[in-house]
Every structure is written in C-alpha cells, then in structure tokens.
C-alpha cells in the first residue's frame, strides 16, 4: 500500500497553518477558503478536525466524472486534469467528504498530495497530519473518518462540518 495523507483530530490545535500554507502554494496567496484541506474548528469544545481528501481506493469523484478528467497519479493521488474538466459538478456531489469543489472558473480542484510530499504535513507541529502507511491506531482513525459519508445534496462546506461534528462526538466523551 502506498503512503497516505492521514489526520489525527485529537492532536489538531486549530492553528490553520496547513490550510494557510496550502493556499499560498496552490493559489499564490494566503487564502484558506481555497485550500485543498480544511480545518473545522470548535473553539468552545476545544476540538478541531482537519478535513482531508482520503484519495479513496475507489474514488467516488473519479467514478462520477463523465469526462474522465479525474485519475490516479504515480503517488496514488486522485488528481484532476483541469483541461478535461467541463465544470458539471458531478464530482462535487459525489464526494461524501466535501473535498472537491469548483473554483471561480467552474473547474474542479482538490488535493494532489503535492507530488508525494504534502506541504501541510511539514507545516503541522503537532502530528495531526501525517504522511505514511496507515497502521494500528492510524488505520483505525482513517477508517472512522472515511465511515462518515455525507449525502450528495449537501454543500461541501456542510459535509465537512457534519463530518467533523461526528468525529467530535465519537472521540470526545463530552462531545
């Protein structure tokens, strides 16, 4: 199994460095709303959950794309070929985690694992984002996160928030 991007919500402080730096590298400006990952913060409960693309083994976005614009690269990343995207948005509805969206020009964009060296992981000082083979607790954590599938009609931001709420309930006795 190739290396995976992994999130450990219990370790996330909500600092947003991952999303801030991601947007700087991908968008050329500090713009977390356009980052390829999203941290959902619950300040009152002292909980945060990084919303990441799992690069699913059977990716719903890839299956949904009528133009075959979505494929898997040599690092195992599910990537979009912008030149083939027709902006239909079927992938956006298909992703249960809200991790693929359309940009201002109606082209789909998502996490590409930075060519196998994700910048977000290097930015995380608390080990809430990791890149490696999921084993043991990390495998269980990935399983719990991937189990939280949201329905297609929900907006991506809402999917991510609801997923994070479910994780807080599962991981926090006072959630």
């Amino acid at each position: 199994m190739t290396a995976q991007l992994l999130a450990v919500p219990e370790r996330c402080t909500g600092c947003m460095r991952c999303a801030t730096v991601c947007s700087a590298l991908k968008e050329g400006m500090f713009r977390p709303s356009r980052a390829r990952l999203h941290v959902v913060n619950f300040p009152l409960e002292g909980f945060s959950a990084p919303g990441i693309c799992f690069h699913c083994p059977k990716a719903d976005c890839e299956k949904a794309c009528p133009e075959k614009a979505i494929s898997r690269d040599e690092h195992g990343a599910v990537v979009v070929d912008r030149s083939l995207c027709n902006g239909c948005g079927d992938c956006v509805a298909a992703c249960p985690y809200g991790m693929i969206v359309l940009d201002d020009e109606a082209k789909a964009f998502k996490c590409d694992l930075c060519g196998g060296d994700p910048a977000c992981v290097k930015e995380c000082e608390f080990g809430a984002l990791l890149y490696g083979k999921p084993e043991g607790d990390l495998l269980k954590a990935r399983g719990l996160q991937m189990k939280q599938r949201m329905p297609g009609e929900m907006a991506p931001e809402e999917k991510r928030r609801n997923l994070a709420v479910n994780l807080m309930k599962a991981l926090r006795s006072d959630g």
Binding site: R17, M29, F30, P43, G46, E125, F126, R161
Partner: protein, 587 residues
C-alpha cells in the same frame, strides 16, 4: 495591495450606515498596523476630553500587515479607544482567528462611530456588510451569542466578536469575547460595545492576502520559524503555556497572593502547570501559531481553554483559591458573562480582604468557592447591591470604604499578576502604561537587577518602544525573540520594497509618544503615573522579598529618570525637541 487588504470599513451606528474607504496610505509607513495605525486613526477622530461612553467616542479595530499570512504568531488584532474604566486612551488585543477572517473579507480594520438606538449586530460577509437587529440576543452570554450567529445561513465558518450581559450592562471591566475563550480583556472594551448597543461583529471572509513574491516570502517565514521561533527561548509556550509562570513567579517571590499581601502562595501546587497538565484534554492554538500554548482543561463537568497564568494567580492565589476546579469554573463564567478575569479576580480578592478585616461584609472569604462563583453573575447583571458595587472595580470599591490602602491598581486598572515590591521594573511599567497597570507594555521579571532603579527604568522604556512596534505588527507576546530586524526582513519580502529595522524602532517610540500626547490632553500627568499606597508603605509578606516596599522616594526617582530619558518634562509632557525628532505634532 501586498500584505494589506487596503480598505477600512467605517460603521456609523447612529445613522446605520457602512462605507468602505481606502486605508490611509500616508500613515502606513509611520504607524504600520494594529496598535500604531489604530492610535493614529483614533487620535485623528477623537477629542481627548470626550466622554468614553458617549456616541462621540469612536472605536478603532485593526489588524496588521502579517495578519492572515503564514507569518507565525501574527494573527492578533486590537481595539483602540478611550477607556470608560480608566479615562485614558487604551489598547486591548486578542488572538484567535477573527483578525485573519477580517483581512480575508477585505478589510484591514473597522472604525465604529455613533451609537445605535437598538441592540444590533454588524455582519460582514466579504463585501456584504449589514447592521441587523439583535434584540433576540439581548442578555445572552457570549457562548450562546456566538453559536446563534454562526447558525445563520452562510456563517458556519464565521468568526465573532461579542459581548455578554456584563458588556450590555456597561460593567467597567467588561471584555469582548471571541472564539469562546479569547478576549479583548482589559479596561472595558465590552462596556464600549454596550454603550453603542453593539452586541456583536460577525465576519466571514473568503478572499486572500497577497505578497510581492510568494516563494521568497514563504522561504523567509520558514527560516525564521525554524531558526528563531522554535528555539529554547520560546518553546515553553508549547510544552507548558502560561501556567509555567505559577512556579516561576513563586520562586521569584513575586506571585500576588491574598489580595497582594504575600509574594508566595504555599498552596500553589494545586494550580500550577503540573496541575493543568493532569487535567488537560487538548492543546489549542490561535490562527498561524505552531506553539499552541492554549490548554483545554476539564475537571468533572467544568471545562475551559485555560486557565491562563493571570487567571490562575489573580482568581486563584490572590483569592486564596487553591482549587483548580473552582478556578476553571470562574474562568468559564467570566468568559461567558464577558468579564475580564484580571479585574474580576482583583476586585473579588479586595472584597474578601474587606470582609475578613471587618471593614465591610461582602460575604466573600479567601478560599471559599461558592460565593466567589455566585457573585460573578451578580456583577455582570448588576442584580444585587454587592454586584452593583463590585461592578465598579477594585479602586472604586476600596474608595467607597475609605480603604485605598488595600487596593492594587494604577490609573484605576488593577494590577496583573506580578508583585512590584519584588521587582521595581514592574512597578515602573504599571505606573507608566498608557492604560493603567499592564504587563504587556514592559516585562522585567527576568531581570538580574530588579531593584536597580536606573536599570529598571531603561528596561521599561526599551520594552515599551519595542512592544509598540511588535503589537503594531499584530505579533503575539510569546514570540519573545522576534526583533525589528526580523520584522523588517519579512515586511521587505512581503511588500516588495525595502523596510529597515531603524524605521520600525523609530515608529515604536513615535507611537508611544502619540499615545502620551492624547493622555496629557485627556488630563493625565505625573500625578496619575503612580502606584497605590500599599506598594509604597505596606511590607510584602512571605518569600525572598518579605519586608520589602517600593518606597515613594525610590519611585519618585524612577519616574523622574523615566521622564528625562523619554525626553518629557517634569509633568510627563513630551518636549518640543522630542516631538520634532519623532515628526509628531501636538493634538
């Protein structure tokens, strides 16, 4: 525009209008952002003799050039106005994520003038800015207010500034809360929101912050993060956070205990950093911070992000409360009701002292948690006689009982958690701060010569000038090693034009003097640059500095030297020569 959004949002609450205006370019390279730029904007608008609670008193909320970028520990934002608690100009700043959100929405800051007839919220969703009726939020705590606003369409990811009942009732030390546990805490910002009938500001921004050369800027950020920030001098914030100061200040004998009578708390192990760690659930951070000093703690059903050192000491040791569960409950109640924990802790400690010494019975006693927790709601809601009295703060309460010899405050603002009889520099810092007793203008506790008056005065002036520019860059205190050289290098890369450390250092002194010009016009002079009687006359008890005072003679020498080194006259007025050097004109 690089690093800046380039716009200020002007909000006139009397007429219900909002307009976006360009950031005044002529002031950027002289005042930079956050504190400095807010002071420049505020002093341009406000009459120094204005009644702080009148509609004519503006509020200026500002971010800084690094806010919203990857520069670490640079996401703070501040408010400048005239304080209803002290009558001085004041600055109060806050971490969390509101500052970056405001930049992403397209604004460097807000200028709020006038007063609304009805309770309102200001909603900013990128370019869509509205004033909306908030009568449904009247009387609600900060936690519920934030949740209600974020439940509105499109605002789930918004950040909020809000007041609780204390602010609505204009309690003098009401704070403004943000992201549940972060505050513009000191000197009554919440009362100012209340005076304007402004319940909350809610902001969602989806834009971005640009820099001149992104790869070069990111390389510099990474370099300073690794070689300067994440080094031994600063890593205490990651391993412990501010509770580490409980042990540090006790060892130094400068840990205020039982209403500033003792310099050590024998029971401190119940509330020190080890006690916090035993009850910690998670690390928490402000936007952009890789240190994450926040400790989310829980005991039984009581949880809070905190308590921070100031709360552990002033609501803990100073109230004789060696009970972490009680301090957590106190902290959470203050954060929700919208009360500053430093002023609240001091005021209740004073009331305990007055009760136990038989001067007046407030039914509050050192170490007894029930009434100590109960009285907070009475203060915030002004619902009982003792609540109404204690809502006026420690100074006014002591004065009401002819007991000013028992209070610890300068310019009526209660002391933070460092005993000046054990470190004269903190006394000079408290007496000369623009907003009254404050530990965020100068901080001398790690000095090797805490009783050397000249060394302490020089230390205080250097810190004040440096912090005036550091807070203007919206940095957090806890990047302790960030220098004007680092700031200048990051500004140069971000703006794409050369900035020097020298011009930043000069700006720091300029900002401090402009603040002074306002306070002098507001009626403040050397008489107010002082310490309360107990520091001059009552010997400290316990610890290595038992028996010490900071005598009035030593203090007078320190103040005279401070004015001389500042280039101010004997009443503390900046001289013409000093103003000419700083390119400042009198207000």
């Amino acid at each position: 525009m690089n690093l800046y959004a380039g716009k200020i949002l002007k909000v006139d609450l009397t007429h219900g209008t909002v307009t976006a205006e360009p950031l005044p370019g002529k002031w950027i390279r002289r005042y930079w952002g956050c504190w400095g730029l807010a002071v420049r904007l505020y002093t341009d608008l406000a009459d120094p003799v204005v009644d702080p609670m009148a509609p004519e008193n503006p509020l200026v909320i500002m971010t800084g050039p690094f806010c919203g970028t990857a520069v670490p520990l640079a996401s703070r934002f501040c408010m400048v106005s005239k304080s209803p608690y002290t009558g001085t100009i004041f600055e109060t700043n806050c971490g969390g994520a509101f500052g970056p959100e405001l930049k992403y929405a397209g604004y460097d800051g807000l200028v709020i003038t006038g007063a609304s007839q009805r309770l309102v919220t200001l909603t900013i969703a990128d370019g869509d800015v509205r004033l909306e009726d908030a009568s449904d939020l009247a009387g609600k705590g900060i936690f519920e207010t934030e949740a209600a606003l974020k439940a509105r369409p499109g605002l789930a990811e918004a950040k909020v500034l809000a007041i609780g009942p204390a602010g609505e009732n204009r309690v003098g030390y009401a704070c403004i809360g943000s992201e549940a546990y972060r505050q513009m805490g000191r000197a009554g910002g919440g009362a100012l929101f209340g005076s304007k009938n402004l319940k909350a500001v809610v902001c969602r921004g989806t834009g971005g912050v640009a820099v001149a050369d992104m790869p070069a800027f990111l390389a510099k950020v990474d370099h300073y993060k690794k070689t300067d920030l994440l080094t031994e001098d600063n890593l205490w914030a990651k391993t412990d956070g501010t509770p580490i100061l409980v042990d540090v200040t006790n060892e130094m004998g400068i840990h205020p205990t039982r209403n500033f009578t003792h310099g050590v708390n024998e029971g401190k192990d119940a509330i020190n950093s080890d006690a916090i760690k035993r009850n910690k659930v998670a690390d928490r951070a402000c936007a952009s911070c890789p240190l994450g000093c926040g400790n989310y703690t829980r005991i039984k059903d009581a949880a809070v992000e905190g308590p921070e050192y100031e709360t552990l000491c002033l609501a803990g040791s100073n109230c004789g409360m060696n009970d972490l569960e009680a301090v957590i409950r106190f902290n959470r109640l203050c954060d929700d009701l919208g009360l500053d924990t430093i002023s609240a802790g001091n005021t209740i400690a004073l009331a305990m002292d007055l009760t136990e010494s038989g001067i007046h019975d407030y039914n509050l006693r050192f170490g007894e948690p029930d009434q100590y927790l109960q009285v907070l709601s009475e203060i915030a809601h002004l619902s009982t006689d003792r609540g109404r009295q204690l809502a006026r703060g420690a100074w006014e309460t002591a004065a009401a009982h002819g007991a000013l010899d028992r209070v610890a405050a300068s310019k009526k603002l209660e002391f933070p958690a460092y005993e000046p009889r054990g470190n004269y520099g903190m006394g000079v810092a408290y007496a000369t701060s623009e907003r009254g007793a404050c530990h965020l203008r100068a901080f001398t506790i790690f000095s090797e010569t805490p009783f050397d008056v000249e060394a302490m005065v020089r230390h205080v002036i250097a810190d004040q000038n440096k912090n005036a520019i550091k807070w203007s860059m919206c940095f957090c205190d806890f990047w302790g090693t960030v220098s004007p050289e680092i700031m200048a290098d990051l500004l140069t890369a971000g703006l794409g034009e050369p900035v020097t450390a020298e011009e930043l250092t000069a700006a720091g002194e300029r900002i401090w003097n402009l603040i002074r010009l306002f306070n002098v016009k507001a009626g403040f002079g050397s008489d107010q640059d002082t310490l309360p009687p107990k520091i001059f006359r009552e010997p400290l008890k316990g610890g290595p500095h038992a028996g010490r005072v900071f005598s009035q003679e030593d203090f007078a020498k320190a103040r005279a030297l401070y004015y001389e080194l500042r280039g101010w006259d004997e009443n503390g007025m900046p001289t013409d020569e000093k103003l000419a050097q700083l390119e400042l004109t009198r207000l």
